[in-house]
């Protein structure tokens, strides 16, 4: 687990990708689309960039390849789907609580209030 802690804080793109993979397997293009939707179009991953990231995450046991989900459209069954490993889930949770703590601190909360006002 300590090895995982070294990875915190996660780069924003990595966090987004892991978030998208939580709870359901996706293939590369699915991840790209989901990331784009979640970031409101601000993050648009190129194939090379995405698979470089996946290669790193795979090497560290954070994501892994899974069978295509049974409900995937016919054509997608031949695709490679990725999902979070238990270590990946833990890493995502660590990063999420780090962010939550950060946002929860009074001065950041005040900033957010200020922006809303």
């Amino acid at each position: 687990m300590s090895e995982l802690a070294d990875l915190i804080p996660l780069p924003p793109h990595t966090f987004l990708v892991l978030l998208c993979l939580r709870g359901r397997p996706l293939h590369g293009y699915g991840i790209k689309k989901e990331v784009r939707a979640r970031s409101e179009g601000r993050v648009d991953l190129d194939p090379g960039g995405l698979y470089r990231l996946i290669a790193r995450l795979e090497a560290r046991g954070i994501v892994s390849v899974v069978e295509a989900p049974v409900d995937a459209p016919g054509d997608d069954h031949r695709r490679v789907f990725y999902t979070l490993t238990p270590a990946g889930e833990a890493l995502l949770a660590m990063e999420a609580s780090r962010l939550a703590a950060l946002i929860g601190s009074p001065d950041v909360a005040a900033l957010i209030e200020g922006a809303r006002a």
Binding site: G28, Y29, D46, G49, Y51, I54, A55, R79
Partner: protein, 894 residues
């Protein structure tokens, strides 16, 4: 491009990725790319291509540099040497080891990229960023057209007013007219003529005009009776007033009774879409007085369509407006044979249309040249690849993957592409000024910006793309090898190995043929144009422009008196044979179009459209225009004498087809009603006044001294001087002589008639020269390509030649054999090129004068020339084959 097609290319590019990474992810990456491609529009796809190149290059580098991030390598030995950096080193080392090859390849590619870059900067300026106005896509131009007169006319003030108030599809409607004013000598003692535009309506907003100093005219200046106000263009402010900010609010321009107050200076980028002006003098829109003016057509009109409204609906509205006019102003707006109609066209198509066609032609030519350069370098690389087959064979046999073998070859291509770009960009940068020197003014003005960051970015993209393109062919060929076959064939000449090379030679010859044929057509057309007799004799003719300021010359007699004196004084100068004045200089100035009618004409229907010229006595002789019948104007043809005119042969034919024009009389429909009948006293040869390529129109010349109509028509004139002396001595003397009469009259634009004739075909010369240069380069590149391939194939067959020589084969047999084999390949290419050229040539029709697009001489001559060039390029290596000594055969066989 189709999804699978682009997917294949993308997949091929993925080869530069490290093998472990590629094996695991490449298929998914490609699928992802294809899916996105399928879901994207054209623009998005262009972005995707650029991003994909960057993404793949970056991934290759990143995965290489941080191997810990990827999976462990599957095979030992894939460590150090498998790195992209190592391959790059290998490629660079390989290129450095053969400097001759490298320099030649880089120069070839550099020429192609240079040509492409230079042309792109023209395309960028004309096609991509031609109109520097807000909402250029919604701007339209509106004009009048008369059934019996060629060309477009401006709107009349009344029509402009109606269009502005009645056409609902238009959001803004603005216009402008032109005038000239004369500025008193400024600090430098030189009197100047200034061209003023008279903006009306919403022109400022339409053009996005802004002032850098002072203000633009506002509603307070639009009241009827408001004092005249003017804004200076930036260039004129700098030129005439030295950029002095003090002129705003203090100086006036001489116009009207009390002058026009200068209230501001326009920003440098503000310009009228057509025509140049030094200052804009605000024109008050006065519907009261304007509604009656339906005959004076001087308002150049542009308008902005309402958002979402099409050009079509504006056209429909204008058509219904025309019908209203036809009912309300019968006789003025007849629709039909003699009537007049309004036309609508998008402003960008109208202004940039002709330039765009040139830009497209030039880009295609430059593209062909670049393709040819790529083919040539691919050829050279491929030939090198052939000589390395044994090396490749050993590496493959030892277990190197195909990608590993192909990658250095591909990288060599990329490195050469980059080297070519490094050579090509400065070539474009320094070649552009030369190019623009021969460019016609409209292109030169637009493309004046030269090579900027966008152009360099384009060049970089082109360099990488070409590098990848010609690197790919040999890389594929290297990767496809069967190691056993490679080893077997090591060191031997394999028949069939050169098939790819031959195909490339044929392709090169075809491309060169197309370029040469197109350039040939344009050059022939230019020769045809230059051999047209303009109808006048430009030799030894010098011209000077005069504009007489109204402030000093308030009536016609004073202007005419000045002209007489000017003609007299100049004629008396030493070394001058004769001098005369004309209103519009042929081949340079626009001609004024009007109507005349024969004396016996029944009514309006029998009028004849003519261009009207004014001239002094002796003008025909001074310009070298042949008089067929009758006489020239004489000094006696003055106001009080009978009215006289000269007509050209076209006008004589149009007015009196079956009889001599001499002594016949016409009525000038543009003159006041009390102007009498005019007697034709002479018939002269048709002069190509409009352009060398245009058929002469009917023309009538009236003497300055008997000009009907308004005084403005005689305010400016051109002095034509015939002299055997050099222009450099004649011009200052003539200038001096005219200044001595009255220093407030500006004497401007001194040039020779030969220069005027030359400038009139500058567009044609520009296109022909540029294509000529491209074609010349194409010929050299193709010749080098053929030479390289034949040398290579002869070198490979050294052993065979040695044996044949030893066995006593005649020199001519061997020579013939080599030539036949190679020249037949080039001939096939030349034929294919000729077919392509025949298919493409009709697209050139609008650029050609007096030459058929499928001119048989060129379509047959060019391929023949290519075949001869191929034969000459093959000759030296073929001769070498005949001299191979039998002893070499033994050495070659190890």
């Amino acid at each position: 491009m189709s999804g699978p097609g682009i997917g294949r290319i993308y997949g091929a590019l993925l080869w530069i990725l490290p093998e472990a990474f590629r094996r695991r992810y490449a298929a998914e990456m490609r699928r992802m790319f294809e899916e996105q491609w399928a879901e994207s529009g054209v623009l998005r796809r262009m972005v995707m291509v650029v991003r994909a190149l960057r993404d793949i290059a970056w991934t290759a580098l990143a995965v290489r540099l941080c191997p810990g991030h990827t999976l462990a390598p599957r095979r030992r030995g894939d460590g150090m040497t498998s790195g992209l950096a190592a391959d790059l080193r290998l490629a660079v080392r390989g290129l450095r080891r053969r400097p001759g090859f490298t320099v030649m390849a880089a120069v070839t590619i550099g020429l192609g990229i240079g040509a492409m870059t230079a042309v792109f900067s023209v395309v960028d300026a004309t096609v991509l960023h031609g109109l520097r106005v807000p909402e250029p896509d919604r701007l339209i131009s509106i004009w009048s057209r008369f059934a019996d007169q060629p060309g477009d006319f401006e709107l009349s003030p009344a029509e402009f007013t109606d269009v502005r108030s009645d056409v609902r599809s238009l959001e803004l409607v603005g216009g402008y007219g032109f005038g000239e004013i004369t500025l008193e000598p400024l600090d430098d003692g030189v009197a100047r003529t200034a061209v003023v535009a008279r903006p009306i309506g919403d022109l400022y907003e339409l053009l996005g005009a802004r002032a850098v100093l002072g203000r633009l005219p506002g509603p307070e200046d639009d009241r009827i009776g408001a004092p005249l106000v003017a804004v200076l263009t930036h260039g004129f402010w700098m030129e005439a007033f030295g950029g002095d900010p003090g002129v705003v609010g203090t100086r006036t321009l001489p116009l009207g009774n009390s002058g026009a107050q200068i209230i501001g200076v326009l920003a440098p980028e503000v310009a009228l879409p057509e025509g140049d002006a030094d200052a804009w003098v605000h024109q008050v829109l006065n519907p009261e007085s304007w509604v009656s003016d339906r005959s004076g057509h001087w308002v150049s009109t542009l308008a902005r369509l309402r958002a979402g409204v099409s050009e079509e609906s504006a056209r429909a509205e204008l058509a219904s407006l025309e019908r209203t006019w036809a009912e309300r102003y019968a006789g003025m707006h007849t629709i039909g044979a003699h009537g007049h109609a309004t036309g609508v066209m998008s402003l960008s198509a109208r202004i940039l249309g002709p330039t765009r066609r040139i830009a497209i032609l030039l880009s295609m030519a430059a593209g062909l040249l670049l393709l040819l350069a790529c083919a040539n370098v691919a050829n050279l690389l491929l030939a090198r690849g052939e000589t390395r087959t044994s090396e490749v064979g050993v590496r493959v046999a030892l277990g190197a993957s195909r990608a590993r073998v192909a990658r250095p070859v591909m990288l060599e291509g990329l490195v050469l592409g980059v080297l070519g770009g490094i050579l090509g960009v400065p070539l474009a940068r320094f070649g552009m000024p030369l190019l623009l020197q021969i460019a016609p003014p409209d292109i030169a003005q637009l493309a004046g910006v030269g090579v900027d960051a966008r152009v360099v970015a384009f060049a970089v993209a082109v360099s990488l793309a070409t590098g990848a393109l010609f690197g790919l062919v040999p890389a594929l060929s290297a990767a496809r090898r069967d190691p056993a076959a490679l080893l077997r064939s090591s060191g031997r000449g394999r028949t069939g190995a050169t098939r790819g090379l031959r195909l490339l030679v044929a392709g090169q010859t075809a491309l060169a043929t197309v370029l040469l044929a197109l350039a040939g057509l344009l050059t022939r057309s230019l020769f045809e144009l230059n051999s047209v007799h303009p109808g006048l004799d430009p030799r030894g003719r010098i011209t000077l422009d005069l504009t007489v300021p109204p402030a000093r010359f308030s009536d016609a007699p004073s202007v005419l008196g000045f002209y007489d004196a000017a003609q007299q004084r100049v004629q008396e100068l030493p070394g001058i044979e004769r001098a005369a004045l004309v209103r519009n200089l042929p081949l340079r100035d626009g001609q004024r179009r009007e109507y005349v009618a024969r004396e016996q004409a029944a009514g309006r229907e029998e009028r004849t459209g003519v261009t009207v010229q004014l001239a002094s006595p002796g003008a025909l002789g001074t310009l070298g225009i042949r008089l067929f019948e009758g006489r020239e104007f004489q000094n006696a043809d003055r106001t009080d004498a009978p009215l006289v005119a000269l007509v050209n042969r076209s006008a004589a034919r149009a007015l009196w087809p079956d009889e001599s024009a001499l002594g016949r009389r016409v009525r000038a429909l543009f003159a006041p009603p009390d102007h009498g009948l005019i007697t034709i006293v002479g018939v002269y040869e048709d002069v190509r006044s409009e352009s060398l390529g245009a058929t002469p129109e009917p023309e009538i010349i009236l003497p300055f001294n008997q000009v009907p109509g308004f005084l403005g028509a005689i305010r400016s004139a051109t002095v034509v001087i015939q002299s055997g002396s050099a222009p450099a001595t004649v011009i200052p003397a003539a200038r001096q002589a005219i200044r001595a009469i009255n220093a407030s009259v500006p004497v401007e634009t001194a040039t020779t008639m030969a220069e005027v004739v030359r400038a009139s075909s500058s567009r044609e010369r520009f296109i022909a020269s540029l294509l000529g240069v491209f074609a010349g380069l194409a010929l050299v590149i193709a010749a080098v390509g053929v030479f390289g391939v034949v040398s290579f194939s002869v070198a490979r067959q050294t052993r065979e030649f040695a044996i044949r020589n030893a066995l006593g084969a005649g020199r001519s047999t061997i020579l013939g054999g080599v030539l036949r084999k190679n020249v037949s390949v080039a001939a096939a290419g030349a034929m294919a090129g000729a077919i392509l050229a025949l298919l493409a040539a009709p697209g050139l029709r609008s650029f050609l004068y007096n030459v058929a697009p499928r001119d048989p001489l060129i379509m047959a001559g060019v391929p023949l020339m290519l075949i001869v060039v191929a034969m000459l390029s093959s000759l030296a290596p073929a001769l070498r084959a005949t001299r191979v000594s039998p002893a070499r055969a033994l050495q070659e066989s190890d």
